[in-house]
Symmetry: C2
Subunit: 221 residues, 2 copies
Amino acid sequence: MSYENNLIETLVSVFTVENGNLKVLLLRKKTEPYKGYWIIPGNVLYNNETLKQNVLTVLDEKLGLPNILIEQCYTFSNLDRYPKKRVLAVSYFGLIDSQSVKLKKQERNNYECRWFDIYELPKLGYDHEKIITKTIKKVKMFLLDNRVLSYLFPSDFTLPELQRLYEQITNKKLDRRNFRKHMFNLNVLEETGYKNETGNGRPAKLYRFKNEINQDSKVEE
Amino acid sequence: MSYENNLIETLVSVFTVENGNLKVLLLRKKTEPYKGYWIIPGNVLYNNETLKQNVLTVLDEKLGLPNILIEQCYTFSNLDRYPKKRVLAVSYFGLIDSQSVKLKKQERNNYECRWFDIYELPKLGYDHEKIITKTIKKVKMFLLDNRVLSYLFPSDFTLPELQRLYEQITNKKLDRRNFRKHMFNLNVLEETGYKNETGNGRPAKLYRFKNEINQDSKVEE
DNA sequence: ACAAAAGTGTTGCCAGTACACCCATGA
DNA sequence: TCATGGGTGTACTGGCAACACTTTTGT
């Protein structure tokens, strides 16, 4: 048996938060097999690039999302991933705030892509359902670390929004008052102005993360 | 540039605990390059095996340690890992208790291998220092989850031993009395008999983990 | 008897929880 | 003025931290 000709692909799931809901970006496949199914964006790894370089290229050229936070997740090696070739998949996840997403929207026109709520995923091609399940699990773990939340909420946000994200991650209802107390005790938030938009009920105050937070670099090779 | 001929190797760092000290198993390399240096055990990935199968084979045939708990850690893809070929490394770690290690010692005679305290590592070949640093970091995280400690302490152990492991992982001195209270509150320990051995001072009681602990399977592909 | 290490109990504090009321807006 | 959702204060509790003394062994 040979140990050559193992192909490697990267698969990068990009996450963002809209109104406190965690969303992931998927592509619609245009060709057989799995034509019409949704898949995680990715690419084949070439000989002269690292995984990280490859992923950043995918993000930049396919999705128009350069310079976002990425993190390696897991390497899948099942023999039946592809029908004829042997292809390993290294999965990554990326985080981006919804403001930046809107700005860069026009650059993604070449592909049919959509943000899906992580609890309302469509049928996925290949073994991507298994892969995204594991990735979502890791993203949740990752987000429970308060230091990285500022990647998803760099601009103004409300506390109820933040709370909704926490509730999604932990799958638990949280008490409004206790949640505030908790966040304020962390001493990483500061106020800005006001907000209306949603119209219903009393407007929520807007906050931002203080920049001083110790962002130990979590990105490595 | 080609995307074929990417080689893949696995590297598996096996950990155990002796007297509360976390140790890792390394091999001495017998051939150039890096002759005489210590390296993490591993193997090339073949076309017809998964990463997990490959790692289990390494553990069984090279190290005589079949059926231990393993967990994937990280995939390294730097271009300068090997001089001529392009080789990616998928690192794993394994956990085994020191009792089982002793029983299986004779099966490792083909290789020169040794257990190193994680704070007294020797010079490592290739980029294995970088890899083991990252692996140790992940193992520490992993071990802070109480549910997996029973893999390292299946047989009788003392509370001071357990405490030493915690202190190594967190790099903090812990209070003896508070540590006991904490462990007992978890309600996962039960007593057995007595112990002397070390001779000096009052003998410590021996404990074991109750088998009922909910060991959610943490091993997956 | 003494040194060395294991074992035990009490107290205070802080973070998390439970819970009821008031406030600002749109309809 | 009412419905909707945001904002605030208080009391309780359980886990963690700080701390001093006793017990069992070997020498």
